[in-house]
Assembly symmetry: C2
Homo-oligomer: 720 residues x 2
């Protein structure tokens, strides 16, 4: 049925083999003779001033080569704003000496009063973490408002109003490979940095700017990466490694420990959502009001800019949303897969379920009644094109119908929305003399993008997949690529590849017209040959044209393709409905997630196997944040700073996963695709909470959705 012969096929990832065999090279595998190892000294206190740093004992330790402190390096500050903040760093000849030296550095602190709760931090008498951007509240990092219609009228029209406060805990991306980097200067002064990162070119730009060098004097190499999920988008240890390498004249490696990851990386933010949703008895939504308070810790970092990107599922004529980001004396959050979306979806989709329940309406019918359609407006007032929300709800309804109802079991449903980015993208295509093709990309392959780019080249040239070699290469040689995030990578890189391969075909057709009596526009490709569409000639194999070109004045056929966008986001609206089936033990409250089905509009699945993999992975991470994960603090100090106490779902914890792909083509995406890296995670805590409510009658409003809350309740543990 498809117009494509290879796109849409379940092509395995070639990079799976080196990964499972252990051959793949990660940053920590990079070593050099004479390499030094860095270690960092961190503050045990959340709020303090440093009185003194005594490095004398560390300096005397044999093997210590350089020590950076607030006194000699602008990388460190004497003002401590969170527990785990870097105070000093050093380089030594081996990791153990480095750790020992770090333990010998004595720091004298003057402690100050701290504030950890963002609502508490907003009060006028709270300690000031950083100057507030609000006249009204302390510690406001940012505030924005989204509104439409008249809230008072909207609430006045309602028959029922549901008001709740939701709290989402801080969740770590818990990638398998911690942050790691190696920095090395060559004799010419050029810097090379190997780092586990989502975007090589960001690192290049930041380091070049820090060092005052042209970007081409900084080479960034991203070896294989062991997970990221938004947590490897910005520099973390690289500047320290670079300065230590500069001072010592030796390569310097820094690998973060798992403990360091938990106390000083950039996890998904904590968030408090106070929300009031109103509807008429017939189920028509009339108004919604919310205050959303992100805990941004000691510095800006909470992803507050994605409200329109993730909300706007229902026609609500009157709304006002105030989104605050508030400083506290805690670690600085960052992006975690669909940043900002999961926490808002948890709150707003719990509200919808709550309202439907109060009105005695089926949660799916209630959603269908209010769901946005083509022509409706987004929160920011853009007009929706054809979208897949209703289709996903319809398919979810069919799924639910087939579920057998049993005691202590519940079924939940929830919807979500996301939009993917595009981002600066570029590829180089080289047609080799035997007709095989090399594709060079600068984008880190987190999700299988390189596999998909190979499919596109093979599809467009009508040559077999084993003739294509796709590689991510370093910043010296690859075209610029924005970071692999925002569900942009396959979208943007496929656009660039489509442009490149079409340029290559254009060049081939022009060259072929010198060898066949056919004008360039009259050619197409078939079976690896350039042939006239009208069949007037048997055609010439691409490999033959490649060889001829190489020995003609034309020269070797190498082309480039680029894509980017002025607005970062693509006009692709991704809607998802998920259905969760859970069982809750009525005595212990233990939650067993039996099955999660996800009905997601993916535009077009270039490689359904990889798309399903993204959806499955997203659901499992969503479950983790939903009912297992969350940093636990004591006076700003993370207590569960290891994977024994911070539990993430393992394969054994995963329920049956049913990814269902809905394909409503995007308007401007290559081949109609939409981003799929992030959206699947958005809905899961909400659908889990709704399923638990269905099973127990208890509405949990705080993640992780802990079983204790269920077992201690006195209410009846009902079923649907």
């Amino acid at each position: 049925m498809s117009e494509h012969w290879l796109l849409g096929k379940r092509v395995p990832r070639p990079d799976a083999i080196p990964k499972v065999t252990g051959e793949a090279v990660y940053t920590d595998d990079i070593t050099f003779p004479g390499m030094l190892y860095g270690a960092v000294v961190r503050s045990p206190y959340a709020c303090a001033s440093i009185r003194s740093v005594d490095t004398s004992r560390a300096e005397q330790l044999p093997g210590v080569r350089a020590i950076l402190t607030p006194t000699n390096s602008s990388l460190f500050s004497t003002e401590i704003l969170y527990a785990g903040q870097k105070v000093a760093a050093l380089a030594a000849t081996d990791p153990h000496t480095a750790q020992e030296a770090a333990s010998l550095i004595q720091v004298e602190y003057q402690r100050h009063r701290a504030v950890f709760d963002p609502i508490r931090a907003m009060s006028r008498d709270a300690p000031v973490v950083r100057p507030s951007r609000s006249q009204e509240f302390n510690n406001v990092c940012s505030h924005q408002r989204k509104e439409r219609g008249d809230l008072e009228t909207g609430f006045a029209q309602a028959d029922i109003i549901v008001e709740n406060t939701y709290r989402v805990g801080i969740a770590h991306q818990a990638y398998m490979e911690p942050h790691a980097c190696v920095a090395r200067f060559d004799v010419s002064g050029k810097l090379t940095v190997w780092t586990s990162i989502q975007g090589q070119f960001n690192v290049r730009a930041s380091l070049a700017s820090m060092l005052g060098m042209p970007v081409h004097d900084v080479r960034v190499i991203a070896p294989e990466i062991g997970g990221a999920f938004g947590g490897k988008t910005s520099l973390i240890m690289e500047p320290i490694a670079v300065v230590l390498a500069k001072i010592t004249g030796a390569p310097v490696k820094i690998v973060m420990s798992r403990q360091e990851e938990f106390i000083d990386a950039h996890p998904g933010p904590g968030c408090i959502i106070h929300v009031k949703t109103a509807a008429r008895q017939d189920g028509t939504l009339t108004a919604e009001w919310a205050e959303i308070i992100y805990d941004t810790g000691a510095a800006p970092g909470a992803p507050t800019g994605n409200f329109d990107r993730t909300r706007g599922l229902y026609r609500i004529p009157n709304f006002r949303y105030d989104i605050y980001s508030v400083y506290t004396h805690k670690l600085i959050p960052g992006a975690y897969r669909a940043p900002g979306a999961l926490e808002l979806t948890f709150a707003f989709e719990s509200q919808i379920d709550h309202l439907a329940g109060e009105l005695g309406q089926d949660p799916i019918e209630f959603r269908l009644k209010n769901a946005v359609d083509e022509g409706d407006l987004t929160v920011d007032g853009k007009v929706y094109p054809t979208i897949g929300l209703r289709e996903s709800l319809h398919q979810a309804r069919e799924q639910i119908k087939a579920v057998e109802h049993k005691p202590h079991r519940g079924i939940g449903v929830a919807c979500g929305k996301w939009m993917n980015a595009i981002g600066a993208s570029g590829v180089i295509l080289t047609l080799n003399e035997d007709g095989s093709v090399n594709l060079t990309s600068g984008a880190v392959d987190l999700t299988g993008v390189n596999t998909v780019l190979a499919q596109i080249v093979a599809e467009e040239l009508s040559i077999s997949l084993d003739q294509i070699h796709v590689q991510t290469r370093d910043t010296d040689v690859a075209p610029y690529a924005a970071l692999s995030g925002g569900s942009r990578t396959t979208y943007g890189m496929s656009l660039a590849t489509q442009n490149a391969v079409r340029q290559l075909k254009k060049d081939l057709f022009e060259f072929a017209s010198q060898h066949m009596p056919v004008s360039p526009e009259a050619f197409t490709v078939a079976d690896g040959k350039v042939v006239p569409r009208d069949g007037s000639h048997t055609g010439i194999p691409i490999r033959e044209l490649a060889r001829i070109a190489m020995y003609s004045a034309r020269g070797p056929l190498t082309v480039t393709g680029s894509a980017s966008d002025p607005s970062w986001l693509a006009d692709s609206y991704i809607f998802i409905t998920q259905v969760a089936e859970v069982e809750v033990d009525p005595d212990t409250g233990e939650i067993t997630v039996l099955r999660v089905s996800s009905f997601q509009d993916v535009g077009f699945a270039l490689n359904p196997m990889l798309v399903e993999g993204q959806i499955e992975g997203g659901i499992v991470q969503g479950l983790g944040w939903g009912y297992l994960e969350g940093l636990v603090f004591d006076k700003g100090v993370v207590l569960n700073e290891n994977l024994t106490e911070y539990k993430i779902p393992t394969a054994l914890d995963a329920p049956e996963l049913v990814p269902v792909l809905i394909e409503i083509p995007s308007a401007d995406g290559p081949y109609g695709i939409k981003g799929v890296g992030e959206p699947s995670m958005v809905v899961t805590p909400a659908v889990l909470a709704n399923a638990i409510h269905d099973a127990t009658g208890i509405r949990l409003t705080e993640t992780p959705l802990v079983q204790d809350d269920l077992s201690t309740r006195q209410g009846p543990l009902g079923n649907m």
Copy 2:
């Protein structure tokens, strides 16, 4: 005076710094855990059949991992055609074990009658090395004839005929770094080969063909190279390393010893030239006849195809040249810097000098009288464009006039010709977001080409040189590049770079016209900005446009440029006149070369410092082949197989070198350049012989021009 601001300037090579500091990475620096080391067993006999190969003792040596013999590998033959031929190979855990194991392999030989002299080999009763392609002679590998006019008439018109036989010995390129390679398969079956080679893509093609793989499954990386001079154009140890790596599943390194280099690399060929040249009393050449016999050893390899490329300096109405390549039981020659040219120039320019002397004419005036001009025909009948032969003779004449004549000193003059190739060439240019540029090439930089390409980019974009980073990268990512040889590299790669940077300017101008009310054609670049030619706008810095493009739908600016040629050779005719001043000790015959001046038409010197370096190096190598170097054989076995007994000129042996650049632009070369890598070597043995004759009255006709021939003579040691 120049229309260029940076081209034609003496820009130093940035790669000098890593080379002199030892930071540069050569193939032998590449190591892997678990890497094996290869060693080769070689025949001590020049002609034999192998009766048996006993590997049992070697197999028992701990650390030996694989042994290849004629029995289990098609890489080896049971028929031995030269001493030093590879008989078997093995891989072991360290180089010493590998060598020891090789010494434990026992080979039983059945020896046969051999032939070493090519003239002897042509006789009907000589042992057959390989089947002859001639009805008339044995062992003829190839024969070609060049003729014009009527030889009989030409000789009949002459007043004087000079007839001599010249012999040129076999000379090794004597690069500092011997051949080295590392072969490694990854788990996916992809092969990576690091090798010291002039052309990465040749190696890729050969190995892919040998293994039956698409070329993109073979990655060839040429690390820094320690000299080549034509001696690293083809595979030598790579197939053995690859097969051993395949069998053992481990990376395998093979580094040739200096002895192996002398007995089984591909040196410049031995050649015998019997030539008869005729002129009228007034100095007009009337006819020339020659038989040229190349000693191609045990297989085709002698560079017999370059006759027209190096001859055709004089108007000779009647000529016939027969060029034979003849098999002998000796090692197989290959290319050595201007392959085929030095030996022919030695013979034919000695003839010219001899004739001039016999006629009592000044050697320069004699040459000027007969020199070809624009409109004359080449040997192959092409029409010369504007050429620099006369100009180089004029400048040489001025130089000679200034030389003071002293006893026992002589001045020699000789002319030469060469033509450079173009070859498939490609580059990628990436405009970074700060306006700096990365250029990626697949061409091995032997001569400073990367420095020159940076100059071209900087010149064309009017940005400073430190904003350009040029790099040679491997075959996976770089566009195809023919091997760095044939004086093609700067020529072809500059063409490709010129094409790329002009495409980049075109793209920039199109993009700029969206931001300035100016049509794309009306732009130029100045001071790093895109500005309208008419000054109607102050312009926009290139770095600004680069940044804007990256965040517009245009995307990052990366372009490619290619060049190639159907005929391999460019239409650029390079003429050189050299002048040598020597002193010959009348008692010992010791030759002291005082000064060599070279007047060479270089078209346009993109970087005069590098061009002069090429000329100086060529002269010194020409002197080496001329009066120091030559393999000495005993029954086909090389006796002087080390740098103690095979003497190459050191810095202390080098005379004063005076490179004079003549700039007659080439018609189709970029910026009018002509190739300069090879031509300077062409003339030197001839000019040395002519200078020795001038000093001593003795005409030496055999290289190396040995002092013994001079000291034992009874003739008067005269001066000019």
